[in-house]
């Protein structure tokens, strides 16, 4: 018994030391990323303020963009989404809606509203997707193409669109995402600056809950008043905005949101398109692009552009959010495991030696370690060697630093594009930065553990996203 006690004590002490070291490493990484984000933002703001004196729409040098929209049981919103995409400001677009075996009236709504007719000819190329029943063309919109196929999941639907678009670039868009009118003109920037090397660029995803949206345009930006979506605004600002800006600074962007990313069509076809057996296809595709292009020794860039914005509705209940986050966690683990050869591998440059290992430590292992920490504390207390004073101070320090990083993200937002333009909203956002440490963060560690268990059990479901729908001015 004495030996067991000793072993437990040794474990707890060792774990405590590990946690302190791990905390210093991860937070040092986050601090670096946020400082780099500020430098990147400074350059981006200066660049965005320079509007060269020429008419973009009259220029023949903007590459065509195929907007690929996978749609599964989206009858309620698909017509409005397509109308909103048809109204985007960009010289040359092709909208490819892929009806992924919907069981509702998604296809019928499209046929009826856009005057679609089925093309009689057989598709003359091999498309790596489930069987395509028909390809439809609109007799009123030259740029609209609708593909009707068997259900195969989001990746499968994206592949159908990627193979059938004629455009040199394609933009993967979720059908429930609202894109700013000029967003494509901004997102294409890296491809105009470096046409030979740019392979992908991602824009900012922002929370649309409680924003008023009319005819596919965000009319006014409002910070959600309820806790859960509000906390996610804070998270999106820190991780999807500041975090990606920082990674962009060191040419190490490894994730572009599936809801809004632009890619070179031929390069994505070259790597076989999206993997059907993954649930976070957006993360997987970017990591595979890095891997493939570095294996081939080709010069390339993957960029984050902070100004173009796509708006998406985030879960407003803990049940749906938990399901979404478990899926994200499962997908992250799966992608990391699949591409483990890249970790600490100098062949993959900065991405392999610095970015991926730190990403894995911070995002994959971090929540698990934190979760164990919450279990070890009562154990240490039980064995009578918990230094309550130290634990409290350590908790306050880690929380304080976490809040500092969150506030850094808010500061970057205010300093740059300032979409939440009322000071009262900013104060509320800062409050969310404090609040997320009191319960929400701990709950996310539990979700991470659940996600890991689901991964180990081989769960591969998506789970349905329940949406309340976007608000309008009248509402």
């Amino acid at each position: 018994m004495h030996t067991l006690d000793h072993a437990v004590v040794q474990f707890i002490v060792g774990f405590g030391l590990f946690v302190v070291g791990f905390y210093v490493l991860i937070n040092g990484y986050y601090l670096c990323i946020h400082v780099l984000a500020l430098l990147e933002l400074r350059d981006d703001v200066r660049e965005s303020r320079w509007d060269p004196p020429f008419r973009r729409f009259a220029s023949p040098f903007y590459p065509g963009i195929g907007i690929v929209v996978p749609a599964y049981n989206e009858a309620a919103t698909v017509v409005e989404s397509v109308q909103s995409l048809l109204a985007l400001n960009y010289p040359e677009v092709e909208i490819v809606v892929v009806n992924d075996g919907s069981t509702d009236e998604t296809l019928e709504r499209l046929v009826e509203n856009f005057d679609l007719e089925a093309v009689e000819a057989e598709v003359p190329i091999d498309v790596p997707a489930e069987e395509i029943h028909d390809v439809y063309r609109s007799t009123i919109y030259e740029e609209l193409l609708v593909v009707d196929k068997d259900n195969g999941g989001k990746s499968d639907a994206l592949n159908a669109g990627v193979w059938l678009t004629d455009m040199p670039l394609f933009c993967a868009v979720d059908s429930d995402t609202v894109i700013d009118r000029d967003a494509l003109l901004e997102l294409v920037g890296p491809f105009l600056e470096r046409p030979e090397t740019a392979v992908a660029s991602g824009g900012v995803i922002r929370v649309a809950n409680e924003c008023s949206i009319e005819d596919g345009i965000v009319k006014s930006v409002t910070l959600p008043k309820t806790g859960l979506p509000g906390l996610q605004v804070m998270e999106y600002l820190r991780a999807f905005y500041s975090g990606r800006l920082g990674l962009n600074r060191i040419k190490g962007l490894i994730l572009i949101s599936g809801a809004f990313g632009l890619f070179r069509t031929d390069v994505v076809r070259e790597i076989g398109g999206y993997r059907q057996d993954t649930i976070t296809e957006d993360f997987d595709i970017v990591v595979r692009l890095h891997r493939h292009l570095m294996d081939e020794g080709r010069a390339y860039t993957v960029d984050f552009v902070p100004e173009p914005v796509a708006w998406t509705e985030v879960p407003s209940t803990r049940r749906v959010l938990g399901r979404q986050r478990r899926r994200w966690y499962r997908g992250m683990v799966e992608t990391v495991v699949t591409n483990r050869r890249m970790l600490f591998n100098p062949t993959y440059g900065r991405v392999g030696t610095v970015v991926m290992p730190l990403f894995v430590a911070a995002e994959t292992i971090g929540p698990l370690v934190e979760g164990i920490g919450y279990l070890v504390l009562p154990l240490a207390w039980y064995f009578g060697f918990l230094d309550v004073e130290f634990v409290l101070i350590f908790f306050l320090l880690t929380t304080g630093f976490g809040v500092f990083l969150s506030w850094f993200g808010v500061f970057s937002e205010v300093w740059s594009f300032n979409r939440y333009d009322s000071p009262s909203q900013i104060v509320r956002l800062l409050w969310y930065g404090v609040l997320e440490n009191l319960g929400y963060r701990q709950w996310k560690t539990l979700v991470a553990w659940q996600g890991l268990l689901e991964y180990l059990k081989g769960v591969d479901t998506w789970g349905a996203m329940e949406r309340a729908g976007f608000g309008t001015e009248e509402e």
């Binding site: 303020r49 004196p53 220029s59 598709v123 003359p124 091999d126 009123i140 350590f394 500061f411």
Partner: protein, 373 residues
């Protein structure tokens, strides 16, 4: 908590370490909070002040634009700092959108605001972005004299493009060749789309000059710049009379497939003369190992559409093993569909029927009231 922490020969109580860390983080939090809130309040006040005066200023600005007797100098003298900022942003917006006589009145407003003189100073003393903002203002105001008066020469490719654009928009070049030379002679890196568009605008006025400058300089350019110039050539008006297009045909032999592809598309546009075509080994070109390049060659042949080109293209498409490249070729053939014997078109299989049907839908959508076919 009485442990001692030792490092680099120093020993400090853990309590002291934690207190110092707490103080540092607390201070950082306080600074970040007040900085963020303060900045937000400042920006909100600025936005409110600007929004409050914008409508009225817009009205006065339009009134002044359409009234030749309106005295800009007196009006500007009565504006506050915020109002001047708002007027400058409105001026920027209108100068980009409006054409004709009104623009000259707006340029006079720009002079009254002292923008051209300020831009000259920015050119001499500012950083790269300051210089780019200055060149943009001078372009909108068409004031090349301030550029000439400044002690400034472009240091980056973007500045070079901005200077060329300013002089082009202001009709300040003696001839287009001068502008093309400014952009391309000695260029060592690629342009942004703005520079490429500027080259295109100037090149359109004298395609022969562009081809001539390219012929003399192309060997010194990096490949991305060469590709950009070739892409510009693809969009030039067809029918150039330049004798020597050997640099274009030489680009078809480049190792880089992007260069070969761009060269083929450029030749599709400017290589209309029989002697240029007869110099090319068409059969060798359609056997290029890169599907991307073959697709471009097919489009080049379809664009020429003489009997020899069409024969070569049809022969190549019948043997094309890559379905997507074959599709590209049949799509390119679309405009010549009436010239093709039916049996040869049918031999192209699904690719032909697919592209043929899509071409019909394109025409229907473009002309919804018309008859399909």
């Amino acid at each position: 908590m009485t442990e001692i922490v030792s490092a680099f020969g120093y020993s400090v109580s853990l309590t002291v370490v934690l207190i110092v860390a707490a103080l540092v983080i607390g201070l950082a939090l306080a600074v970040m909070f007040w900085l963020t809130v303060g900045l937000s309040i400042y920006r909100s006040i600025e936005d409110t002040r600007r929004a409050r005066v914008r409508d009225e200023l817009q009205e006065q600005l339009l009134e002044g634009t359409f009234d030749p007797d309106f005295d800009w100098e007196t009006w500007v003298a009565g504006l506050s700092g915020v109002e001047r900022d708002v007027v400058e942003s409105l001026l920027d917006e209108y100068l980009r959108e409006l054409d004709g006589q009104n623009v000259e009145r707006l340029r006079e407003l720009g002079d009254a605001l002292g923008i051209a003189d300020r831009s000259k100073r920015r050119l001499e003393r500012g950083g790269e972005y300051e210089r780019l903002y200055a060149l943009t203002w001078l372009t909108l105001l068409e004031r090349p004299e301030n550029l000439h008066a400044a002690e400034f020469s472009p240091r980056t490719q973007r500045e070079r493009a901005a200077v060329a654009r300013l002089r082009y928009e202001s009709n300040d070049f003696e001839n287009p060749r001068e502008g093309i030379s400014l952009l391309l002679e000695g260029a060592r890196s690629q342009f942004t789309v703005f520079g490429q568009d500027t080259l295109y605008r100037i090149g359109t006025e004298d395609p022969e000059a562009l081809l001539d400058v390219a012929e003399r300089n192309y060997a010194t350019w990096p490949e991305p710049l060469l590709v950009q110039v070739l892409v510009v050539c693809r969009h030039l008006a067809a029918g150039v009379t330049t004798e020597d297009l050997s640099w274009l045909t030489a680009a078809l032999e480049a190792d880089n497939e992007a260069v070969r592809e761009a060269a083929a598309l450029a030749l599709g546009n400017v290589g209309w003369r029989k002697d240029v075509r007869s110099d090319l080994f068409l059969d060798r070109l359609v056997a290029d190992p890169s599907p991307r390049v073959r697709g471009a060659i097919y489009r080049m042949l379809a664009r020429w559409s003489d009997q020899q080109a069409l024969d070569t293209l049809l022969r190549a498409l019948e043997n094309e093993f890559d379905p997507r490249t074959r599709l590209l070729g049949t799509e390119a053939l679309g405009s010549q569909r009436d010239q093709l014997p039916e049996e040869r078109a049918t031999a192209l299989g699904d690719a032909w029927t697919w592209s043929h049907e899509h071409a019909k839908y394109d025409r229907t959508a473009r002309n919804p009231g018309g008859v399909r076919g």
